[in-house]
Amino acid sequence: MRWIVLLLAAISLPSLADLDYHLVPRQIAADTWMLEGSTENFSRSNGANIVNSAFIVTESGVVVIDSGPSLRYGQALRQAIARVTDKPVVQVLLTHHHPDHALGNQAFSDVPIGALAGTGVRLKEQGDALAENLYRLVGDWMRGTQVLLPNQVIEPGTQVFGSHPLRLLAFSGHSGADLAVFDEKTGVLFAGDLLFYQRALTTPHSPGLEVWLQDLQQLKGLPWKLLVPGHGPTANDAAPFEQMVDYLGWLDGLLHDSALQGLEMNEVLATPIPTRFAGISLTQYELTRTVSHLYPQYERDVLRRVDR
């Protein structure tokens, strides 16, 4: 009997050794490396590695941009950095509070973890619920992961690390508090989730699509040479901006027109997505989420008081 139990246990227990993110840093500019996640949804096969993180190896140490979705990812990121340089990590910058960007913090608990004040507030309020949801979606990859709040408030302005002046810019269109990092030495713009490319944008904490569009106008005006979106491939041309503005404009128009016509949420969801967005992954899935997040406000804007 006992061997049956052991056999069953061996078959049914997921092997933790298999939960390897295989993070391989790719150099994208001088001193600058990126770990590109997939454009899929969260799943038990990808362990939530759907996000781009990056690091800059400066003369005075390594600056990490976003810590990833789990403790395990944060540890793997740190090991990946150590394979590239023997310089110590001196700074983590969180672009925003979403779990795929900030739940690797525990692996950097000995380093200043900086974020906009609004990011800290949001992570404190929502972090546990966001982490719980990731546990539900990706399972064992999350083992041991807990919210570790940032311990340093980032003020907008320029901060110099070695020979890299980093311009730290505060926006709000994606999550309510969004940090973009522009490296003036290399011209790399780390846009966080203000920029999605070839992956549908997400709206759970967006203050409104028009705010986001304004943020993008400002970002686009920076003298960048390479764009690193929060999700999706890098680009050295304005294609990600063009796609974002086109997609946000379509979304805004769809929600507005639907509300004017008195459509129900499920009818909005049944609207065909224009074929020009066919190359963007997860559009239907994210439309379902966005309608839930934003349509009620569009409805309130067109309905009028009818009580007597």
Binding site: E132, N133, R136, P204, Q261, G262, E264, M265, N266, E267, L269, T288, R289, V291, S292, H293, P296, E299, R300, V302, L303, R304, R305, V306, D307, R308
Partner: protein
């Protein structure tokens, strides 16, 4: 004495019931029999894809899940529509009786506590129940989450305010309303049940067009849409379980 003729006669009396083949349940459910006994009892029924229960594949916000019930393709006159979320602690959503001037169609937002089957049982004039089904996935917690309405300052001042709109359609006309009400379901600690339980649509002459009984599975700040054959003005009367009455008029 042979009992054959008597049995045969009894069987023939039962013929309308026997003639209905309910067909396979299109969704996995451990609760179907329980709800069948509660709502359908021994009436004839069938699982019927012509009753479209439309919801997103997953609940992004388990406190505000859009549900649309469309029984326009069911043959015969629809007498009554009952909807429920099978695995909710408070499963019943709505009991809707559309009159002849109201299409057998309804949109409403609901709370769900976990992934569940959603059902709409539609009774036609011949007494037969046509059951539509859908499945929805969810992270859950929609029924036991603290009220968003109650966290807003001055929510009492807005209690019973109705936002509405009227939208022409090809051959009918849509009425949409959003009602400011916390719809407390009694599952959140320290807050007793406080919800709108009756809604009725009237024409200008005061004739009833449709009635709804709402249950605490309906979301806070309820959102309701009806499709009417008529384009004339209508009035909506809502009543909550504390005796408050709210009236709205839609041109």
């Amino acid at each position: 004495m042979s009992r054959g003729p008597l049995l045969l006669a009894l069987l023939m009396l039962g013929m309308p019931v026997q003639a209905i083949e309910s067909g396979p349940d299109p969704v996995p459910s451990v609760m179907w029999e329980f709800y069948r006994k509660q709502w359908i009892k021994d009436d004839p029924y069938l699982f019927d894809a012509r009753v479209r229960v439309i919801a997103p594949p997953f609940a992004e916000d388990a406190r505000q899940v859009p549900l649309q019930i469309d029984a326009r393709d069911v043959p015969g006159k629809v007498r009554r529509i009952i909807a429920w979320a099978e695995l909710n602690p408070l499963p019943t959503i709505v009991d809707f009786e559309p009159g002849p001037q109201v299409l057998p169609w309804l949109a409403i937002r609901i709370r769900i506590e976990q992934a569940t089957a959603l059902r709409a049982a539609v009774q036609t004039d011949d007494g037969v129940w046509h059951v539509g089904s859908a499945l929805i996935d969810a992270a859950g917690g929609g029924c036991t989450a603290p009220s968003v309405v109650r966290s807003q300052p001055d929510w009492e001042q807005r209690l019973g305010q109705v936002l509405g709109g009227r939208y022409p359609r090809d051959g009918f006309s849509r009425v949409r309303v959003h009602v400011a009400h916390p719809m407390d379901n009694g599952l959140v600690g320290g807050t007793p049940e406080f919800f709108i339980e009756q809604a009725e649509l009237f024409d200008v002459a005061g004739h009833s067009l449709a009635t709804l009984v709402l249950y605490p599975a309906v979301s806070e700040n309820p959102s309701l849409s009806f499709d009417l054959r008529d384009t004339g003005p209508v009035r909506l009367r809502l009543r909550d379980n504390n005796g408050n009455q709210f009236d709205a008029a839609l041109e």
